[in-house]
């Protein structure tokens, strides 16, 4: 099959070119060319308000490696890593549950996982704010529970409770990680699910049959065989999380800004495009390294019987 495809493009190069040209042009005009422009900017400096002179300087990169920005970059990775970890810890049982659910339940569960994609991220983030703010639904619920407990204590002549203090759930690092987990969880669950669903059930039965319990089967059979799914789940969760912009902007506090917020400020408020370009590319290089590492650890080919 693969051979016939390989052969056929040699036989009809015109057909092949006409099919390949539009997407190639599109990619070039709207992705590679702009990227290249921004890349050249990263080696330039501002000339007046609107002009950028590209003179091959590395000053922007040197500036980006300044401890202030480096610490924000590291913090972005820390946020992203923490988010990914929580997504993995929560997503694996969810993916397992979907995999082993009955066919009818399964499609409903998958629908629930994908449902958030149908709503704009901005709206979902504002909805999260409505939940988390001081007068929000979470604090409102806690307030009612608190008052209820206080009332019961009053009835039984117990100690009086102090007045309810709403929890600070918004505009801090907690809110940022929660928001990121909320956004990224489906991206973790779906690759995990697809890896687990492909798993031959008789392998699990074989493990049980040979005397292993469910825990050992999970650790020694399911997990190793689901590793490709885990790896791609980590990748598709980690990378967008590092570059998250909206979530820290809306949910974060003064010390919650991530690298994307810094980049945004360079392009807008600070009007320092060369420096913004340099940080952007720094982020991209780090991401490339992460992808390269993943492809090293991923199995060479899928072993299937």
């Amino acid at each position: 099959m693969a051979e016939t495809v390989n052969e056929s493009w040699k036989k009809s190069p015109g057909m092949f070119a006409s099919l390949l040209a539009p997407p190639t042009l599109f990619l070039f005009a709207f992705l590679l060319a702009p990227l290249f422009v921004v890349w050249t900017y990263s080696f330039g400096h501002n000339e007046g308000l609107t002009e950028i002179t590209v003179d091959g300087t590395f000053a922007n990169y040197a500036h980006a490696l300044n401890p202030l920005y480096l610490s924000i970059l590291i913090k972005s990775f820390a946020f992203a890593a923490f988010t990914t970890f929580i997504c993995l810890a929560a997503g694996f049982p969810i993916a397992l549950a979907i995999t082993f659910a009955k066919a009818k339940t399964k499609s409903w569960l998958l629908l629930l996982i994908m449902l958030p994609f149908w709503t704009n991220l901005l709206i979902r983030t504002y909805a999260l704010m409505a939940l988390l703010r001081t007068q929000g639904y979470v604090n409102g619920f806690l307030h009612i529970v608190w008052n209820g407990i206080a009332g019961v204590l009053h009835l039984v002549h117990g100690p009086a409770l102090p007045a309810f203090q709403p929890l600070d759930l918004l505009y801090n690092n907690f809110a940022v990680v929660l928001g990121l987990v909320y956004v990224q969880l489906p991206f973790m669950v779906l690759p995990l699910y697809s890896a687990l669903d492909r798993l031959d059930r008789s392998l699990l039965e074989a493990s049980l049959d040979l005397g292993a319990g469910h825990l050992r089967t999970m650790v020694q059979v399911v997990l190793p065989l689901a590793m490709p799914g885990v790896a791609s789940g980590i990748l598709v969760t980690l990378i967008p999380s590092v570059g998250a912009f909206l979530t820290p902007d809306l949910l974060g506090g003064v010390d919650s800004q991530m690298i994307a917020n810094v980049i945004e400020r360079q392009f807008k408020a600070a009007n320092d495009w060369p420096f913004g370009a340099a940080i952007s590319f720094l982020l991209m290089y780090v991401t490339f390294v992460a992808i390269a590492l993943q492809s090293v650890f991923a199995p060479k080919k899928e072993a299937r019987s």
Partner: protein, 376 residues
């Protein structure tokens, strides 16, 4: 047949339903220690469900399953003294052959040296010495199956369960594995319980078979019992080839019986009594190799079978089709009633196949002891 001492697996009124479908319907029988036992039946007859219930992957809705006299109905699969060779082999793809085989021993907590020794021993048993380091994707299908066999046998199970073990192999390898499995069973002395839809496979390997149809156990017996003394039309038809006639019991004495069939010119004569009410409907089944062909001339009187009254158990017909199979030929013969039946004749000399031609008139004859009488 030697009567084995102890029953190792006992099914007691086992029933399993999937929704409204009854997969296994009130099945009771037992398997003795040391047997090579086959569960035989068409697909969907419940044989695999029965096997999976022994392994513990399915639970009966009613009834009990005993292993070594102990009720294991509620015992999880990892606590049962049985091991299974899966149809897909289910060899762990991320482990080496040795780790696969040793997996069950690691689980038991067997020490490393002992574990490796026993794994090597098991690999030698299935003729895979020296394959320990390989990964399953470097093995052929047949080799993977041997790994699955070694992995199960290394646990020294009371019963080895095999789910359609030969179905994925090519014809030649299948023939060889049949032989090897029976040899292996004799060598290790473990009771084998095998599921198959292939009657040749079951007859060739098993010491005893259970035939199932639509969840119901039809007959349990040695291969020759099932072939020569089937207890129902289903078993007679499922195992081997058969010519079946519906008839009415017209005479029944202790030492003789006659069955009148609409498709035959004379009643079928039997040299034994039949347990059935006179006038009741029953069926007779005659295997093709038990029907003798004789040349017939126009206007010739019926030849007489020495063990039957004059005219009985002989039928006129015309050969309509001949399949020459080398060692034997199958003749399809139309009776005067229009019913087509099969007769099989061994080609004992190099000219035997020239004895009969298509459209030749023939006599078909059988002995009084050859037809099997079926009540259902």
């Amino acid at each position: 047949m030697t009567k084995p001492a102890q029953s190792i697996i006992t099914f007691e009124n086992v029933t399993k339903r999937y929704g409204k479908v009854i997969a296994v319907d009130n099945v009771s029988f037992s398997i003795s220690e040391g047997e090579f036992f086959a569960l035989l039946g068409p697909s969907g007859c419940g044989k695999t469900t029965l096997l999976r219930m022994v392994a513990g992957f399915e639970n009966p809705d009613e009834g009990r399953i005993l292993i070594d006299g102990k009720d294991v109905t509620d015992t999880p699969p990892n606590r049962r003294p049985v091991n299974m060779v899966f149809q897909s082999y289910a060899v762990f793809p991320h482990m080496s052959v040795r780790d696969n085989v040793a997996y069950g021993l690691t689980v038991e907590g067997v020490g490393k040296a002992e574990r490796l020794r026993r794994a090597e021993e098991a690999l030698a048993l299935v003729k895979l010495d020296g394959y320990g380091e390989r990964k399953p994707d470097q093995l052929s299908g047949g080799q993977r199956q041997r790994v699955a066999l070694a992995r199960a046998l290394v646990k020294r199970p009371r019963v080895l369960l095999l789910d359609e073990p030969l179905s994925a192999l090519d014809a030649k390898l299948r023939e060889q594995m049949r032989f090897e499995l029976t040899q292996l069973q004799e060598k290790v002395g473990v009771t084998f319980l095998i599921v198959t839809h292939d009657q040749d496979e079951a007859l060739a390997m098993a010491s005893r078979c259970a035939v199932m149809n639509r969840g119901v156990l039809q007959q349990v017996g040695a291969p020759s019992d099932l072939y020569e003394f089937p207890n129902s039309r289903f078993v007679a038809d499922f195992i081997g080839q058969v010519n079946m006639f519906e008839g009415i019991l017209s005479r029944d004495d202790p030492d003789r019986a006659e069955i009148t069939c609409a498709e035959l010119t004379t009643p079928v004569f039997l040299d034994h009594g039949v347990t059935g009410a006179a006038g009741s409907t029953l069926w007779i089944a005659i295997r093709p190799e038990k029907i003798e062909l004789k040349g017939r001339k126009d206007g010739e009187a019926k030849p007489i079978m020495e063990d039957a009254p004059e005219g009985a158990n002989v039928e006129p017909g015309f050969i309509r089709h001949i399949s020459y199979l080398g060692s034997e030929s199958v003749y399809e013969v139309d009776l005067t009633s229009g019913r087509r039946i099969k007769a099989l004749r061994s080609n004992l000399t190099r000219w035997d196949q020239e004895d009969f031609q298509v459209d030749q008139p023939v006599w078909l004859a059988w002995h009084a002891c050859s037809p099997a009488v079926l009540l259902s």
